[in-house]
Structures are given as C-alpha cells and as structure tokens.
C-alpha cells in the first residue's frame, strides 16, 4: 500500500441519514464529522451527490461501505473498487471503511454481511483483498468487526486474533463496533473484555455505537434502538484502552429526531471526557 495512514482523530460524529439531510444542510449541527454509506453516493449524479458535496463543505466525511466484500473467495469486484476510488478522490474522506464479512460469490450478491470462518485460509484471502483495495484506493482502510449469529466448526482462531493478524499483515486499521462486540459476545458466549484486550488498540481509528434487539435465539444487530446501557458500559471500557479515537452513533431504522441522536452523542462525549479526567 502507498499513501498516508489515518492519523488518530478524536471527534464525535453521526451517521448521516436521509431524514436529517435538511438540518445538516441548513443548521450548524454540533458534530465533528459525519459518516455516510459509500454505496448511496457511488452514483452518477443527482441530488445524492449534490447533498454530499454541500455537507462535505461543512463537515469531514467518513465513507462507510457495505459491499466491498473483503471476504469473497473470488476476490474483489473491480467495478466496485473503481467506483469507490472515484468517490474517495472526490470526497477526500476522513476514513474509508467496510466490514469483515463477505457478501458476494460467483455473481451472487446477498447484500447481507455474512460471516467468515476464522481460518488461516480466510485470513490469507482477506489480507490479499484488503491489500488490493488499499493499493487501488491509495489509502489505509478501516475494517469493522461484524455482528455474527453463528460460528463455523473450522474456526482456528478468535475474531480478535483474526483482526490482530489482519492489521499486522495489511497495515489496515480498525473500526471497532462496540455494539457488535456485545451482540457477538452474547450470541457466542465469549468475554467482551477479552475481545477488547485482544485487538490491537493502537489500530482503532473509529468506534461505532448502536442499539440491538433481542431475537428468539440471538441478539440481533438492528440499529433501531438507542444505545443500551450494556453497550455504553463496554464503550467506557473501550475508551479506557483507546483514548484518542473517533466515535459515532449509528442508527439505521426507526430513526429519531436529530436532537435525540445528538443527546446520545453527548453521552459518548461525557464517557470519553470522564475517562480523560480519570487519566489526568
């Protein structure tokens, strides 16, 4: 990979969602950055690109993808990469991220973030795909830990060991979704603190906070609820280990008024500030 690495950015942001576009365009929304879903803006033109350009004039923008499919056994989609590269060059984003998952195989695209086995074969493949993406984008990528609902029998390492090796081998950074850690920890019965201890904390550039729902047999990563106390508590623990990092509230369904999300962001600021005061 060539290009510059992302420097730690200690700010607080929100995921930009359609119901809030107008407020972001007309008001001075108190956020340090916004995050957008990359694919929503990898379009030819029209109002989406115009809106993104206007918001980019006001705020740093992080690009968060859902379709790179870094775990696809048949490699990355070159058309996708080219489109993303054009958007990256246009926006000059704060971060470019996607998920540790796969969505595509042999022309089929699930549009769902499907789980990977944590094996050396998968690690080799994901490293190669992320290396290719970073070479094309000329940027460091941030990889987000997923919520998962099953584990494979062939797993030979934990998710945090997989991420640690991934960062080490590719130079990528991490987007740590604290809610996803909590959801997967409950679903699979591991200790979320062991997860935080196992990841390379110095590689975490961004944190996602979100809510989840209780399904019949598993916790489901629904992003349709406020951040629950259990996730706030884990965030406080994470911030103790990762003092300088961008934090963002991610809400994708049942989207509340912007003021509600800003109030949640204030809680994140308070937790981070409390940790800084304790450190001082």
């Amino acid at each position: 990979m060539t290009g510059t690495s992302s420097a730690p950015f200690d700010g607080f942001g929100l995921g930009l969602r359609t119901p809030h576009y107008q407020q972001f365009l007309s008001d001075n929304v108190p956020v340090d950055f916004v995050e957008v879903i990359s694919e929503n803006f990898m379009v030819d033109g029209g109002r989406p690109r115009y809106t993104l350009d206007r918001i980019r004039e006001r705020h740093p923008v992080a690009l968060h993808g859902v379709s790179m499919s870094v775990g696809s056994a048949d490699g990355l989609d070159r058309d996708y990469l080219c489109r993303l590269k054009m958007l990256v060059d246009h926006v000059d984003p704060l971060f470019v991220s996607d998920h540790l998952c796969w969505t595509r195989i042999e022309g089929f695209n699930s549009h769902d973030l499907l789980p990977l086995p944590y094996t050396t074969e998968a690690l080799d493949l994901v490293c190669a795909n992320i290396g290719q993406a970073q070479d094309v984008l000329q940027r460091q990528m941030l990889i987000e830990n997923p919520s998962t609902y099953l584990q494979f029998m062939g797993d030979s390492m934990t998710e945090w060991q997989f991420l640690d090796a991934l960062c080490d081998r590719t130079g990528c950074a991490l987007l740590l979704d604290v809610n996803n850690i909590f959801v997967s920890a409950v679903n699979h019965g591991f200790d979320p603190i062991a997860y935080l201890d196992g990841i390379p904390a110095d590689r975490v550039r961004q944190i996602h906070l979100a809510g989840h729902s209780q399904g019949r047999d598993r916790l489901i990563d629904t992003h349709d609820q406020p951040v629950p106390p259990s996730v706030w508590a884990l965030y406080a623990t994470a911030r103790h280990r990762i003092p300088a990092v961008a934090t963002m509230i991610e809400r994708d369904d049942d989207i509340p008024p912007l003021a509600d999300l800003l109030a949640e962001l204030d809680i994140a600021r308070e937790i981070a500030g409390s940790d800084e005061r304790q450190a001082a």
Partner: protein, 252 residues
C-alpha cells in the same frame, strides 16, 4: 473444504437450493443460519418496497410482498448496489398479473423514476441559444436520464394520484397506446404520458438522426405545414422541460 465451497454452500442455503450445512456448522448454529436466511429476504423485500413505493400502494402489502418473494426466488441479486435490485421487477409483475397491465407499467414508472433520481447530471441547452443553429444540419442530443416505456394503461394517472395521496382512478386501457417519458429536470425526476407520435420522434432523435430527418418523417405523417409545426412545438417543449443536452451541427 475451501472457503469458496463454504460460500457457495452458504449462497445455496440462502437461496433455498438444497444443501447440507453440516460440514460447516454444528446444530447450535441452526438458529443463526435461520437469521441469515430471513435477513436476506427481508432486506430485498424492503429494497423493493422502497423503490416501488407506488406499486406497493396499488397492490397492497400482502400482494406486493408475495410478488417480491417470487421475484427474489427468480432473480437473486447480482450487482454490488442494492439500488439496482429490481431492474426486472416489472417483468415479474407482468407475469404475475397478465390481465392487469397497469401493475407492470406502474412498476416500470417507479423504477425509471428511481434511476433518473441518481442518473448522470447534464447541463441542458437554453432556448436563447437556438437562433445561431443551422437547422438543416442540426442533431439533437437528449439528456442521459431520458427513459421511455410503454403506456397501454392509465398507470401514469394512477401514479400521480398516489403521489398526491388522492384516491387513484380505476385502471383502464388507453384508447390509443402511447408511452411514458421519464427524465430528470434539475434534481427532480419527472414523467409524462406521451402519444405514439412523440415516442417515435424521441426514438428518431435518440438514434442520432438529424432534426431534418425528424421533420421529414413528420411531414410524411402529417403534411408539410402540420409536420413542421409539430416538430417545432415538440422541440420547444423538450427544451422547456430540460430534455435537450445539446444541438450539434456535424462537420462536413
């Protein structure tokens, strides 16, 4: 067993192709597999509901979801953008509702408007630039968001009523089949139902033929005076509605 084999089996599991996942997961994972199986469909149904909002209103929730599930089984998604899923949903609806042509036409209109919304930007020509044009040699260029679909029914009127949250009219066949013209003016996707003569004219323009060729065909159809007048009025309307990207005069 390779990662590729696992992903192929997982795809088959999602798409209801008979496959044993026992090579990959134990019995405890069954609940997790079911979550992915359900989430795959829910995501695609929601995408279709969002893209085909007026078709959803016209059919009602149960009928729409039944049709969406048929489409998902027939047409698994292949592109990287979820926004492109639904590219042939109107064809699925045409199969499912062979006696209700307005359903597929409504779906085509929903689809074309959604594509126009994020289609390429284009600076259109202004009316005050027309004076310098040599009309004997002029070639019109349409903006890239232009799409034309068939209109055998009053699907356009149904769409407009649903958009205005008015009671939609009953579906009827048009006395003369025409077409629906979809484009984007500034940031607003637009459509109007056009007659067959304008549909043919737009096809001629879209093929790269000259304005003179268009006039010649209209004169053959309507007579000299009426043909030229009709070409002029259509051109004025196309320019007014932002459909004309440029008017070029090819070099000799």
């Amino acid at each position: 067993m390779s990662l590729a084999a696992l992903q192929r089996d997982f795809r088959d599991w999602l798409t209801d192709v008979p496959v044993a996942m026992d090579d990959w997961v134990d019995g405890h994972a069954r609940a997790g597999l079911d979550i992915y199986h359900n989430a795959y469909r829910v995501q695609l149904v929601e995408c279709l509901k969002d893209t085909f909002a007026k078709t959803f209103l016209w059919l009602g929730e149960d009928a729409f979801i039944d049709a969406a599930r048929v489409h998902i089984e027939r047409t698994p998604p292949s592109g990287w953008t979820l926004g492109a899923y639904g590219v042939r949903f109107d064809e699925t609806l045409a199969d499912l509702y062979p006696d209700d042509a307005e359903v597929a036409e409504l779906a085509w209109l929903d689809w074309a408007l959604s594509r126009a919304f994020e289609g390429p930007d284009a600076a259109t020509i202004a009316a005050d630039t027309l004076a310098q044009i040599d009309w004997d040699r002029a070639i019109l260029h349409l903006i890239p968001s232009v799409r034309i679909g068939r209109a055998c029914t009053n699907a356009g009127a149904i769409w407009s009523a649903l958009e205005a949250q008015d009671a939609p009219p009953a579906a009827v066949l048009l006395p003369n089949a025409g077409a629906m013209l979809v484009w984007r003016q500034d940031f607003t996707p637009c459509f109007r139902t056009i007659e067959a003569i304008e549909q043919r004219a737009l096809k001629i323009v879209g093929s790269g033929s000259s304005f003179t060729a268009l006039c010649t065909i209209l004169i053959e159809q309507l007579g000299e005076e009426a043909g030229i007048a009709h070409a002029g009025s259509m051109l004025a309307e196309w320019i007014d509605h932002g459909l004309i990207l440029a008017i070029n005069e090819p070099k000799e």
